[in-house]
């Protein structure tokens, strides 16, 4: 029996009717129409589907859309200010944190969650935070440096 829910995605409320077993990922990609979040493994190993739900990092492939009813969902599309990229996005570009780009939306969301809870993370904390996000291109080094650079910039700005 389909269930009526409202998802607030990147600040925009979407009234939706979903199957109780529909994943948050499929609902956001298919019903809301935001395809930045990716489906990789579909079982919480790769992190390509990472979203924030009320600020918490969530593997949206393995989270039911019905459970996010009334929640604030943030996807990679919600990180930038219109066409102006977020500092993390700029840093990923300039530091070689992007190659094929498939993992990038999930990486950026995990990095956002990390800096929200730990503004000045050690390299160890950064590597721990993105360990649930698999990247088969970059070797992670550019990604880790990009996140560290944004944290350092923020610290310098006070």
């Amino acid at each position: 029996m389909a269930v009526d829910i409202t998802l607030s995605v990147n600040g925009v409320p979407y009234p939706l009717t979903v199957d109780p077993h529909a994943s948050l990922l499929h609902t956001v990609r298919g019903d809301v129409g935001l395809t930045g979040s990716k489906e990789g493994c579909d079982d919480s190993e790769c992190g390509a589907c990472m979203m924030l739900v009320d600020g918490r990092p969530v593997n949206s492939c393995s989270y039911l859309a019905v459970q996010a009813d009334g929640s604030d969902v943030t996807t990679v599309e919600g990180l930038s200010d219109g066409e102006t990229l977020a500092p993390l996005q700029e840093a990923f570009l300039t530091r070689g944190g992007v190659q094929c780009g498939f993992c990038t939306p999930g990486m950026l969301v995990s990095a956002t969650a990390l800096l929200d809870r730990s503004p000045d993370p050690s390299e160890d904390e950064i590597r721990t935070a993105v360990s649930g996000n698999l990247c088969r291109c970059t070797g992670y080094d550019g990604i880790v440096k990009a996140i560290a650079a944004v944290a350092a910039e923020r610290a310098a700005q006070g």
Binding site: P20, E45, N59, Q67, S110, S131, G132
Partner: protein
């Protein structure tokens, strides 16, 4: 065509309700619904093909009052079933008094798993490899279950009966886990250490938890040891505990406790390790857990999670 029809029928038979109180959740469970909180076992298990998602689900993730960590009247700790691993690993009381539980919570899955996976789900999943199980057992963990006829309390040692099996009825909802007060009669320390091939996104190949109490002269006056992924259920090892009490808690005593744990282990062989390897590592990992608990009891600082820092000990 018949496949399409059956899929449609199946989809239309799916139901979901969100409970805002325990009574509503228990009523739904009595009618056949399965509870879901973080979904990190139930949904991921379905994705893996372990078991299909139940047709009837009741969301318990927003029930007020089940997400608190609070002291009990007896000086122990009550952990609500909806408390996440992320909360446990950062909770000041847990870090100060139950660091073994923080060790375990900090190495569950990834940061997303820890942010959503709950202690209640972890306990009721009844996995013999669950990281929080050994510390909970060592601290006298008791499950508080609420069913249609009321509340009952079950020691975790009596709750778990095998992989994925427990003595809880299908219509009983776990609302909290309660831990004993720290042992009296000296300074105590605790730890959880696992054998892991990587530091994150890992399941224990072998694990051990320990709580050690030291008297004023440094003698071990009390010890609790439990082993993980070494039997159908996580369980305490009385022989390891006996090997520690009355000693100085040094290397030889910890080694004896480890040997006793290996002797008590009944491991399986699977893709993550052979039974012989697990038995051999039971001695090493239990020794490391005991030595870490002793160091903490002595007031030394051992970073959480201990598993990352105990190599070579």
């Amino acid at each position: 065509m018949s496949t399409a029809t059956s899929m449609t029928t199946s989809a239309s038979s799916r139901t979901y309700v969100e409970a805002r109180d325990v009574a509503t959740a228990v009523a739904a469970m009595s009618a056949g619904a399965r509870p879901i909180a973080g979904g990190t076992d139930l949904v991921v298990g379905a994705r893996h093909g372990k078991a299909p998602l139940p047709a009837a689900l009741v969301g318990i993730h927003r029930i007020p009052g089940l997400g608190d960590v609070a002291p009990t009247d007896g000086g122990g700790l009550r952990i609500g079933a909806l408390v996440t691993h992320a909360t446990l690993m950062a909770d000041p009381t847990v870090l100060a008094s139950y660091p073994g539980l923080a060790d375990a919570s900090a190495i569950v899955g990834s940061h997303a798993t820890r942010a959503n996976g709950t202690l209640g789900g972890n306990v009721m999943n009844s996995s013999p490899a669950m990281d929080t199980g050994a510390p909970l057992l060592c601290h006298g963990g008791v499950a508080v279950l609420v069913g249609p006829v009321g509340e009952r309390r079950v020691a975790l040692a009596d709750l778990w009966t095998g992989p994925g099996r427990s003595t809880a009825a299908p219509d009983e909802l776990l609302v909290a886990v309660e831990l004993d007060a720290l042992p009296a009669g000296g300074a105590s320390g605790s730890s959880y250490v696992r054998l892991q091939y990587r530091r994150q996104m890992e399941i224990a190949i072998v694990g051990a938890g320990a709580v050690v109490t030291l008297g004023a002269d440094g003698t071990v006056t009390g010890a609790k040891v439990a082993i993980t992924a070494l039997a159908p259920v996580i369980h305490r090892v009385a022989e390891s505990e006996a090997a520690l009490v009355g000693t100085d808690g040094g290397f030889e005593a910890a080694k004896a406790a480890g040997a006793a744990a290996a002797a008590a282990a009944r491991p399986i062989s699977d893709v993550r390790g052979s039974a012989d390897y697990r038995r051999a590592m039971a001695a090493v990992i239990t020794r490391r857990a005991v030595l870490t608990a002793v160091r903490r009891a002595r007031g030394e600082s051992v970073p959480v999670p201990a598993s990352d820092t105990t190599f070579g000990s």
